[in-house]
C-alpha cells in the first residue's frame, strides 16, 4: 500500500520536476536587474516553504505523540525533521550562491539567512539528542518535548532577528504583499509549481524514512526479545 503510494507520488513528482526545470531554464524570461541567476530563486523559496512545512509537520506529530504516546507519531516527527533539514540545506545553499553573485559575499548576516541557519542548528540538535538515547520510548518522549521547545524558540528567534537587522529582499508573492503584483504572474506561478514539486518530493522522502523507522523499531524489538531469551 505504502509502496504504491510512494511510486504514485514519484510518478507525479518526477515529470513535474523535469518540466519545471525545463520551464525555469527556457520558459521564463530573465529578470531585469539580476539576470539569469535569479532563476535559483525558483528553488530557493520553494525549498524554504517545503522545509517550513516539514518543521510544522514535525511539531504537530510531536504534540500528538505527547498526547497519545503512540510510536507512529514519533516516527513521523523524526522523518519530517530530517526531510526538513535536507530542504533547509537546499534553501541555505541556494541562498548563499545567490548572495555570492548579487551581493558579492557568500554569507551576509541577513536576518532571514541567519534565522534559517539557527533553525538548522536547533533541529540538528534534535537529531543529535535522538542518537544519544537508546530506549525507543524514552527517545520518543524526550525528543517530542525538545521539538516543542525548538518550535517555540524558533518562533521567537524569527521576531528577534527581524529587529536585529534587515537587508533580505522583501516578500514577493502576492499572498504576502496583500494582492499587489510585485513579480510577473508567470514567475509567481512557476514558484507555486515548483513548491508543489518539492512538497511531493518531501512527501516521498518522509514516507521512505518512515518505513526505515518502522523496520528499525521492529529490529530493536526483536533484538530485545533475543536478549530476553538468553
Amino acid at each position: 500500500m505504502r509502496t504504491k503510494l510512494i511510486l504514485a507520488l514519484g510518478a507525479v513528482a518526477g515529470p513535474l520536476l523535469l518540466r519545471n526545470l525545463y520551464v525555469i531554464m527556457f520558459g521564463v524570461p530573465d529578470e531585469m536587474e539580476q539576470g539569469p541567476i535569479y532563476r535559483i530563486f525558483y528553488y530557493h523559496l520553494p525549498a524554504f516553504l517545503t522545509a517550513a512545512a516539514c518543521y510544522f509537520g514535525a511539531l504537530v506529530a510531536s504534540v500528538l505523540y505527547l498526547a497519545k504516546k503512540d510510536q507512529k507519531y514519533d516516527a513521523f516527527a523524526v522523518s519530517a525533521t530530517e526531510t526538513g533539514l535536507a530542504f533547509a540545506a537546499v534553501n541555505l545553499i541556494t541562498g548563499m550562491i545567490w548572495g555570492r553573485i548579487i551581493w558579492g559575499i557568500w554569507w551576509a548576516w541577513d536576518p532571514r539567512l541567519t534565522w534559517a541557519l539557527i533553525c538548522w542548528l536547533v533541529y540538528f540538535g534534535y537529531l543529535m539528542l535522538r542518537t544519544a538515547i537508546d530506549d525507543p520510548t524514552e527517545r520518543a518522549k524526550n525528543s517530542a518535548v525538545l521539538s516543542v521547545f525548538a518550535s517555540a524558540s524558533v518562533a521567537v528567534t524569527w521576531k528577534a532577528i527581524e529587529w536585529w537587522r534587515t537587508q533580505h529582499p522583501g516578500p514577493v508573492l502576492s499572498i504576502r504583499t496583500g494582492g499587489v503584483q510585485k513579480i510577473d504572474p508567470m514567475m509567481e506561478n512557476m514558484i507555486y509549481m515548483n513548491t508543489l514539486a518539492l512538497l511531493l518530493l518531501a512527501a516521498i522522502f518522509v514516507l521512505v524514512r518512515l518505513r526505515q523507522e518502522e523496520v528499525q523499531r521492529e529490529i530493536d524489538g526483536l533484538r530485545r526479545y533475543a536478549h530476553a531469551m538468553n
Binding site: 505527547l66 539557527i118 542548528l121 536547533v122 540538535g125 543529535m128 539528542l129 544519544a132 538515547i133 524514552e138 518522549k141 524526550n142 518535548v145 525538545l146 516543542v148 521547545f149 525548538a150 517555540a152 524558540s153 521567537v156 528567534t157 521576531k159 528577534a160 532577528i161 529587529w163 536585529w164
Partner: protein
C-alpha cells in the same frame, strides 16, 4: 502553594549542597574570569570599543557560566539515585523543576554580580551608571538561562555525553534571549536612557521567559516520570 513550598525545599537543598562542595561555584567563577582576561588579550580593546560590545562580551561569559552551572543541576541527583526518591515523593515534576531552576538562578546571578566589577576593573569601565536597569536585564537574562538550562539538564540527565549535549541544545535555542540581553546591556553600559525602539528587546526577552517557563513547568512531569 504546595508547589512553591516543595520548590523552596528543593532550592534550599541544592544551594546547601553547592555551598558545601563548591563544585560548580569555584569552577564557574574561575572560568568566567579567565574568559574576561583572555578576551582582553585577544582584542586589546579601547574604552570606546568596550562600550560598543561590552554587553556581548558579558553575556558570552554568562552563557558559558550558565551551561556549567545547569550541567550540575539534575546531574547532582544521579549518584545514589536521589532522583528516584524525589520523583516518588509528593513533590510534582513542576515543583522539582522550579526549585532547581531557582537554585541555578541564584548561583548564576551571584557569579554575574562578581563578574561585573571584575569586568569593570579589567576594561576600565563605569558599568554602574544605570544600575537598576542593568540588574533588571541581568535578572531577566539569567532567568532565561537558568530556566531553559535546568529544563534541558533534566532532558539530558540520562544521556551519554551529557556535558556536550546540553550546550549544543541550549545555545541555539537561547539566541533570542541572549541577543535581547546583549542589546539591552550594551545600551545600559553607556549610561544613556534606553531608546524607545529598544523596548522591543525587552518585550522579546520577557516573552521568551514567559513562554519557556510555562512550557517547562507544563512538561517537567512528562520528562521526569520515565
Amino acid at each position: 502553594m504546595t508547589t512553591l513550598r516543595h520548590a523552596a525545599a528543593i532550592a534550599r537543598k541544592d544551594l546547601r549542597s553547592e555551598f558545601r562542595t563548591k563544585e560548580s561555584i569555584n569552577s564557574t567563577l574561575s572560568f568566567s574570569v579567565v574568559i574576561l582576561l583572555l578576551f582582553s588579550f585577544a582584542f586589546d580593546p579601547s574604552p570606546d570599543m568596550i562600550v560598543e560590545f561590552g554587553g556581548g562580551l558579558l553575556w558570552m561569559v554568562f552563557a558559558f557560566a550558565g551551561a556549567l552551572i545547569v550541567n550540575r543541576s539534575f546531574a547532582r541527583e544521579l549518584p545514589n539515585d536521589c532522583i528516584d526518591v524525589l520523583v516518588s515523593s509528593p513533590a510534582s515534576g513542576a515543583s522539582l523543576f522550579l526549585g532547581k531552576a531557582v537554585a541555578a538562578f541564584v548561583l548564576l546571578f551571584g557569579i554575574e554580580c562578581i563578574c561585573l566589577p571584575v569586568f569593570g576593573i579589567f576594561y576600565n569601565i563605569t558599568w554602574w551608571r544605570s544600575l537598576g536597569g542593568l540588574m533588571g536585564v541581568l535578572a531577566l537574562g539569567t532567568w532565561a538561562l537558568a530556566c531553559a538550562g535546568t529544563f534541558f539538564s533534566a532532558l539530558t540527565m540520562n544521556l551519554r555525553l551529557r556535558e556536550l549535549m546540553l550546550p549544543m541544545l541550549l545555545y541555539p535555542m537561547l539566541i533570542p534571549a541572549l541577543l535581547s540581553a546583549m542589546m539591552l546591556t550594551n545600551t545600559l553600559l553607556t549610561g544613556q536612557p534606553i531608546p524607545s525602539d529598544f523596548t522591543v528587546w525587552l518585550r522579546i526577552l520577557i516573552g521568551f521567559n514567559i513562554m519557556f517557563t510555562t512550557l517547562s513547568l507544563y512538561l517537567a512531569e512528562t520528562i521526569l516520570v520515565r
